[in-house]
């Protein structure tokens, strides 16, 4: 086994003595695509913030790209779930995406190369034509794509996406699945989502977070497991989905 890209080893995180995550252990290998699912308040976003070094674990160790999360940041791309910003903030799409090219040293402006890399990232997300537009004037789906492009402009080895399909209509969601599929071929992608249908089509493994963590290969997810995570009856809708090479069990329910 090669060195994992992301590794959680018995990580516990508590706020004011209340454990949000308990004894979490998992790892993500290179070029793996992982989905983190779970109910609201289950600790999904906390998991990402720990991986980014924005939060410190109470116990346990986290390694990212073989080092500690803060040192690894430069090679990690992140798309936050909420962007608290003023709709009228005078900033263009290109300005926002260029922030992926920020560095700690330079005291000045972005280079030509920064702009080329950023435009490529925007192009990859299909929003290069919006580069000059006012960021606040975009639709929800366009904005998500720009934020993913910003994360890609970091040229990451690990991409962390927090709810990329929030506020996005179903047709756009399908495009997202396609885009993430392509990305996963190149880098390691960890996606947080509450959208289980999205999961099944996309990833190698699912990490279910509700304080404790359970890991499943996608094909193993059944109604019972979902019930177990979310606690309670859920209405399940079968989606059409692509089969993995190994095929899939027909009792798969979403």
């Amino acid at each position: 086994m090669t060195n994992p890209i992301l590794n959680f080893d018995n990580v516990t995180f508590a706020i004011d003595g209340i454990e949000v995550l308990s004894d979490v252990s998992f790892s993500a290998q290179s070029h793996e695509s992982i989905c983190v699912v779970g109910p609201n308040g289950g600790g999904k976003s906390t998991l990402l913030k720990l991986a980014l070094g924005l939060l410190e674990p109470s116990r346990g160790t986290i390694t990212v790209l073989g080092t500690d999360p803060i040192k690894a940041r430069r090679k990690v791309g992140y798309m936050p779930q909420y962007l608290q910003y003023d709709q009228r903030f005078p900033v263009s799409v290109l300005d926002v995406a260029l922030m992926g090219r920020l560095s700690s040293h330079r005291f000045g402006f972005y280079s030509k190369q920064d702009k080329v890399i950023t435009m490529q990232a925007l192009d990859e997300m299909g929003v290069a034509n919006l580069a000059k537009r006012h960021f606040g004037a975009l639709s929800g789906g366009q904005r998500q794509r720009v934020l993913i492009a910003r994360a890609l402009a970091c040229e990451p080895e690990l991409l962390l996406l927090d709810e990329p399909t929030a506020n996005v209509d179903p047709s756009v969601e399908n495009q997202f699945v396609e885009i993430l599929h392509q990305l996963a071929a190149k880098i390691t992608v960890v996606t947080v989502t509450h959208d289980l249908g999205f999961v099944s089509q996309l990833v190698d493994r699912v990490i279910c977070v509700n304080r404790f963590v359970k890991i499943h290969p996608t094909s193993e997810i059944t109604g019972e497991i979902i019930q177990d995570i979310y606690g309670g009856d859920l209405k399940m809708v079968r989606h059409d989905h692509c089969c993995s090479e190994q095929g899939h069990a027909h009792d798969r329910l979403f």
Binding site: L54, P80, Y85, F89, P90, D95, S104, C154
Partner: protein
Amino acid sequence: MTDFFNTLLDPSISFLRYALIAGLLASVAFGIIGSYVVVKRITYIAGAIAHCVLGGIGAALFFSQHYGLSWLTPMTGAVLAALAAALVIGLVSIHAQEREDSVISALWVSGMAAGIMFMAKTPGYIDPMSYLFGNILMISRQDLWTIVALDSCVVTLGILSYSKMLAVCFDEEFARLRGVHTKFYYLLLLCLTALTIVLMIRIVGIVLVIALFSLPAAVAGHFSSRLWQMMAISTLLSMFYVTTGLAVSYGPNLPSGATIVMIAGLSYLLVMAAKMLRRNHN
């Protein structure tokens, strides 16, 4: 109005020329730093820094009188007090988990109170009004040079840090994740704010200076989709307000600081009204 132009060109009367030059130079700093402050939504912090400056001016007057420190001019006191206030307020707002606004208002009023107490205990007649609301008659040649130096310093740093400041104002968390020292840039912004405030104190005074920080940027915000556009437009607006304010106030002998701010306020209201009318019309 012709009076204004005649005086401006009269070689024997310098104060109006100084006021106009100082106002136009300071407008550049106000346009740049004011835009950062408005998009970062920290005008109330700028307000607190401005009011703390009175403490510095009072202390400078008091100590220079009592201990014969001739280098300690009100301008020097203002710069020192503004920077100190910026750092204290900045550190409080970074580290205080709660009630940041209470701490800031406490500093706001204590700074002013200290200034008034120092002035009361300084021998000779000092008019606090001229510091609170500005007095263009008081601009000396030395003040003008101080303004030139501070202005170039603020403008250079403001422009060089553009991409970092934009990121810190827009999405601080993301900037931090890219390795940007966000706390440093936040403190730098507050220090630049402090110096910018000092630039205009002679002209519009401590109380009114916030108007020139926020109003041009607020008007410019309606016409710009990039931050640098907002800076350019608010610089031009600020220059326009200063020039018309000085011109309008000169003939009827109105207080010039108040006139400048009144014109800025009216233009803001007009823009807002025009915006609303257009929205209703559509």
